[in-house]
Symmetry: D2
Subunit: 342 residues, 4 copies
């Protein structure tokens, strides 16, 4: 059993709960996770439910299972998450665009100007890159972060970049507006816990074989630490399919809508790994009610150091954005479309 | 090596090809598949390539691998498949709707009128149902087919229904306009071969764990038999996901576009198994460039004998169709959107 | 609700059950499946449970879900299925071996002699081959069946071969001792129903993405038709893995043991697609408690028309059989090992 | 192109390589990863292959793809990894056993004595637990580590425990003999890089949807940092299957054998999630040629704080070990069985 305490519960309230279990010889553990204080008991604690529920500082009792994402839970409304001068989850369709990796200052500035001109709302680019092999390009590190900052200052686009190591959060936070947690780290709990203590918003990508329940429970690690600014990103799951890099699970967008109030965006570039599929899948994401997309763009894809096959050209990005906005404008005339509700 | 003969090749042409291999001690098998005559040889036949290619009746030589779906292959244009008074693949967005199973004459007529009024283009309904358990409702059989025909005659909607057994094709063909091959039978080759000899168009649903290459090779079984009227249907693949019945692989729509000229529709009802996800996924299919959708509709879902949780109400169908058409109309103003090309 | 009638229930018993529902205005369908007579009702029939249960011909009432494989259900003992002069499920470890496809009379006789000498208990070989492409070798048909019969008569090994089409069952049954249903046809219900009316035993291979519940329900189609001689075969499931053709789900062996009394064998050849993995996986199958294995063997794998990469040489088969028997002999000294029970 | 330098290459050798590319206007990056120094160039560097290969400090040139696990690559022999007083990969079958989580000092000591008496070679137990939900038991932390150390000192069994955070490596290393990287962290590259700089051996568990190539490339992160003591652990992959928690990919054992010299063990507890399947799967692992197994054991499973359903009792462990050893002894009489080779 989990006993969630009220946000305003004080030390005396907590002690009262613990004392009740102690008196019955039941081990009860208090855990304070930034925003949330919870007392966990073994199954034997369940028989005290009524007495515990009546204590003054107690908010509610839940099973471990159902409580896994209580702060992330919700539907019918989406939480607005501001990022730099833009926002996710406010009913608009946000477009994050940029190269897979920051490869150098000049080319990044060139790409940043191009995506801004094409209508993007934020700039993406990797400075710390999770690479399958230890011998391949791992990103420019702080040099890449500096270039991202400069590109942001010039274009006004907020910067989204990945952080992989809890020890690098302070460094990355100095330069970035939105901290991305990649698929491989969706259940890197020390990283998530550390991000729960930050002020920067977090973009959490779904793991390659994560259920939606696990995805939301991972977000809960950040939320329960006190950082309520989490954006979810569907980026494809791993299946037997061999035509695309991953299988984009677009139904996850309305399915998440029915379970959470967090904004949900889609990454069709990593989901498909093919530039020719990015545009139709971005349109589909807009039609399915996503709060935005994140796509890879390069001015000269042939020179890209990674994922060249999935990068759009700026002109393709511009066409894609126009189509997505056209779809959203015709849907906005209906009622309740974006909720995914019947 | 596969030697494809020209459609107008005669017995003498064939004999000439076989004789050449025979003279070299190589076993070569002639196979005539309705529309296609092919000579297959072991790898040792490859060394005769040039001499074979020069023979009069020979169209071209191919490896077994690349030839797997030569009639289905194509891109840039979509073949129009007429079904009753409507058509698939002509640039419009076709909507097939109806109950999972035909449960009785009266309720079917009621549903048929409702889906026609909502704007559907064809009526679906199962008379022979593939059920996991032998003990549950297997469909009404010919009684169900008769009800479908009557509903079609009253509403003008062509009828789509599943055929599972090659022995039942003549019976089903008497009543139905479009013969559906279900996911479980995507690689039921005797069934596909028999359908290749029919005049009726075929709706081929993707297998639960079929690659697109296998999907197209399955279609090729019908095409090579002489029946060129095949419509493909993406209906979700099986993954670890537990929020939806299957995982809708919507990227398969543009990916198929780049490999085949056959029309591609989407079944969001079976893909998701949840009525609340059908509408956003139908919109997404329209945005991704599908040639249509097939959805389950019931006037009283609670009374449905199967798949009640995924059936739309007629009013929901009407709203869904309006949204899909709105999306298609804004996209049609752009150029080349429906090809899925970059 | 499903009402299962007693095997000895007569027409009057059945009518009494139907009449009871009719009197209440509830539609109840009688279905007679060879061995089993069942009455299916809509949920509204549940309120008559007690009255129905008290009727003379009624065996028991079940929900559709739990009844899906009632004849296949069981544990603690395995049903012995005799095939020609050998048997599956009698505690021994049966080895079925032979080529992927029958390629000709001479080579088959050569292989048959070799696998008999190596210690195999049955001969496998495909005469009707399910092939992804319509243009590749589809098997020798009846010519292949005749060769199998001759090989069987010479070696004394019973013959296992695939049947794909319900119309071919009489033909195949004339030549084969054990009728194989391939993975692609695990849910080809008309085929299974027809096999339920036969005297020949059936080897049912698990579908590429079938759960164990679906696998057992597919077996139930045969069992409920009156043919109780079904052997199950685990042959790998389809996953993202790229080192092997499929992913062998060996835990399915003890998991099936805990749910069914049917014998369970393993096909490591199709599961892995790699000859170098067949032998260790056959050993593992023996250690996990399987009732046997089916493996592909060829005297000259380089000449095989299909699946050359997964065929063992006869000498490798002999070593494999020796290892499997050694494992079984040391395990047989313990108690209860083969049940998979704790 | 990747240029691998010889272990004894000095600063002058490195500069010579870099200078050659510089002179051609090609950007070349030197990366020193503990044991390995590598120069990475863009594709344009390939045209200098011959000149680079002739330089004194150069060991060999490789493409990024093929070099991904060069230190892990190998077959035909297995590297012996000593852990405390025992060893993995020396031809014996090592058994690691213990509770899912350390729940308290007393119960751990009790379990440790029981698994030692049953014949285990090492003690497992989690002090830092990766849990899906932030609200459930996360392990006892350093208190748990202290208990593990005490249990090890009493029983003589080396301790295996998980480390999730690079910042905790020094702490965990003070108490543990073998540092486990869990499935969720298989591609936590900062963690792997840090472990590459340690003296302690590493037990790397396969990710839930990792290919074997990715698994080996993850091991390479540790190896290339200078820590050559890596043991691989197959623990099941995520599929559609619903009978077991994961799908044990036992063919990965011989498949890894053919690609790497690192020891490979199997975790049937997490792979199946069912105690009744652990024993047959441990036997199967022994038969497939694994270097050992890791299993969960508890003296009173009903009291376990996590994964109670998959814990063996000590008596079951003892029987399991006896069976595994019996299998290995009969196999050891053959030649080359454990290599997985044909």
């Amino acid at each position: 059993m989990l006993v969630f305490l009220r946000p305003d519960a004080d030390a005396a309230d907590r002690e009262r709960v613990l004392a009740l279990f102690r008196a019955e010889g039941i081990r009860a553990d208090l855990r304070v996770l930034g925003a949330v204080a919870v007392v966990e008991t073994p199954p034997s604690g369940n028989r005290l439910r009524d007495r515990v529920a009546a204590l003054p500082g107690v908010e509610r009792l839940e099973s471990s299972e159902s409580a896994a994402y209580r702060l992330a839970a919700g539907h019918g409304r989406t939480t607005r998450v501001p990022v730099g001068g833009t926002a996710f989850g406010d009913g608009s369709f946000a477009v994050v665009a940029g190269p897979c990796a920051v490869e150098g200052r000049e080319v990044l500035l060139e790409i940043a100007e191009a995506v801004r001109a094409a209508g993007a709302h934020a700039l993406r680019g990797g400075a710390f890159k999770p690479r399958t092999s230890p011998y391949t390009f791992q990103g420019l590190g702080e040099e890449g972060l500096r270039a991202l900052r400069e590109a942001s200052d010039r274009t006004g686009l907020p910067v989204v970049t990945e952080v992989m190591d809890p020890r690098e959060i302070p460094l990355v936070s100095r330069y970035a507006d939105l901290l991305q947690v990649g698929s491989r780290n969706m259940q890197n709990f020390p990283l998530l816990q550390e991000l729960g203590r930050q002020a920067r918003p977090v973009l959490l990508k779904r793991g390659m074989s994560a259920t939606l329940g696990e995805f939301l429970a991972a977000a809960e690690y950040v939320l329960s630490g006190g950082n309520g600014k989490v954006i979810l990103c569907e980026r494809g799951v791993r299946t037997f399919g061999d035509d695309t890099r991953n299988t984009l699970d677009l139904a996850a967008v309305p399915a998440l809508r029915s379970r959470t109030h967090l904004p949900v965006i889609v990454d069709p570039s990593h989901a498909t790994g093919r530039a020719d599929l990015v545009r139709p899948m971005a349109r589909a994401a807009a039609a399915a009610g996503a709060d935005g997309v994140m796509v890879e763009v390069h001015v000269r894809p042939d020179e890209a150091l990674c994922d060249a096959r999935q990068a759009l050209l700026p002109a393709e990005l511009e066409a894609m954005i126009a189509e997505c906005h056209a779809i959203r404008s015709v849907l906005a005339n209906g009622a309740g479309l974006m909720t995914g509700a019947r």
